[in-house]
Point group: C2
Chain length 300, copies 2
């Protein structure tokens, strides 16, 4: 690991990653051992490794798998669900499974097509659905905190995209921990300081079976483009990805940005699902589901 | 010009660039026609075009050429001086020439080597000397404002480097116009919204003879590296360089950043040159010159 000037053998590497994770959990005050954690798992290396690490560290962590119904000829969702279930059952862990099509009527790609959101790519609908469902399960089942497997490459790419546009509100919000607010669970990213390749090495050395494929809809996305650009930068100037992300957190912490303007937005509970929304009516998710269902009915 | 969705013939292009420059001068309140402008010219396309444009627009603009003594086998400084003098004499314009070696004892490459500033690259010493001399000439000869030929590619690259490091103080300072303060001339960059290739096209179509070579010491510098990275981004996502720079200016204007903390730094006039410095003693430039001269004396 050039950026840390550190070389470890397998045994020590498998100790080092959880130790570092524990440091980040404490540093950013993510959660403590008395709290119940819900880990959102996708079947990929990051989220399954996160679950593994949290359990090894002695935290009470259950899993949540959301079946998006993205098959696209390669059985992407079925395979990732199988791997999550295998991971949980081999370790005697509890996994909640939410199947989007069964619970809400249609799989994500159909929802995206019918609702015409997101210019030919289901990512906007998928993100909306995942945020809604993760928060719903965390609240309904009494979890204190929702943990996701975002790594440094993910976070740096999001930061890079928002910085290229100087999107103030996004810059102010991006954080390893988002505190809970009425109706919204606390959200944490314990792996946000690990390079993607560090997590791949952990999953491999730990023998975690995970899905290698990216989501078939990710190809050509902005986030993949920014990741590639940052990888080139990292190759030419090792450590720059970590510096970019950490100095951003430091600069914000030490007051580089002005406090966000006091918004007069009052959040209401959505009359259908009860999650907070800024509109007077249904939240975006319930509105999207209502549109999709009414269009599907008309077609039939 | 893809980013403007505009295609112009030669005649209109040669009108469009000065019109746009005038717009930027007014928009950022750089200067007005009653003021005396000193244009720092290097012999390159940007600064000579800037001088050409300002004179065409009816501003009172004289030139300043600083002879850095960078020959390095290709006669870089002599050739750029020749081109500046040719430009001025053909148009009957007034050019001030300051020769660093004649006035301060040594050319820039020797100063850099002897003073051990800047890790093998004379750029730090060169920047220090240029800032000092430009400010000296502007003040001593009664100019109201100092104009440099920085284009969008220059500004975006500097911004990019500072953003990758989240260098707060540099982010807060980078601007198309820096107001005057006691002992420091106002500084403006009227070309900051033009792409480098737009300025190259202007110089070419206008028939301005300029030096094609970059400074031989620029090779391998961070600023060139960042320019290349931004060029790749621009090729893949046209307009992103301009968006990056302009949204930054907008975001700062609309209060994204907290005001710079009140610094208790009092500036004193340097006992040797009179320019403001934060130390109680000689300013950095005079200190550097003193070091170089004393080391050279010891050697002889």
């Amino acid at each position: 690991m050039r950026q840390h000037k550190l070389a470890l053998c397998k045994e020590h590497y498998l100790e080092w990653i959880p130790e570092q994770t524990e440091r980040f959990i404490n540093k950013y005050e993510m959660f403590h051992r008395g709290e119940k954690i819900l880990v959102a798992v996708s079947g990929g290396k990051d989220s399954l490794s996160l679950w593994d690490i949290l359990v090894r560290l002695g935290y009470q962590a259950d899993g949540l798998y959301i079946g998006l119904g993205i098959e696209e000829g390669i059985g992407y969702s079925s395979e990732s669900q199988r791997l999550c279930e295998k991971f949980a059952s081999e370790r005697g862990l509890r996994l909640h499974v939410v199947d989007v099509a069964k619970e809400y009527g249609q799989p994500i790609p159909v929802m995206a097509e019918v609702s015409h959101r997101g210019q030919g790519r289901p990512c906007a609908v998928c993100g909306l659905a995942k945020r809604h469902i993760m928060n719903r399960i965390a609240r309904d089942l009494g979890y204190d905190v929702l943990a996701t497997g975002h790594n440094l490459d993910d976070e740096a790419a999001v930061l890079f995209g928002n910085t290229l546009q100087w999107s103030g509100s996004f810059l102010l919000r991006q954080s390893p921990v988002l505190r809970e607010s009425p109706g919204l669970a606390r959200k944490v990213k314990p792996l946000c300081r690990f390079y993607e390749r560090e997590m791949a090495a952990y999953a491999l050395l730990r023998g975690i079976e995970y899905i290698y494929e990216e989501c078939p809809f990710a190809e050509g996305s902005n986030s993949i483009y920014y990741k590639e650009l940052l990888n080139r930068l990292e190759t030419d100037k090792p450590g720059s990805k970590l510096i970019f992300y950490l100095r951003f957190l430091d600069a914000r912490e030490s007051g580089l940005f002005a406090p966000a303007p006091e918004t007069q937005v009052t959040l209401h509970p959505c009359p259908n699902c009860g999650q907070p929304t800024s509109t007077d009516d249904l939240c975006s998710f319930c509105r999207m589901i209502a549109t999709v269902n009414s269009k599907m009915e008309k077609e039939n």
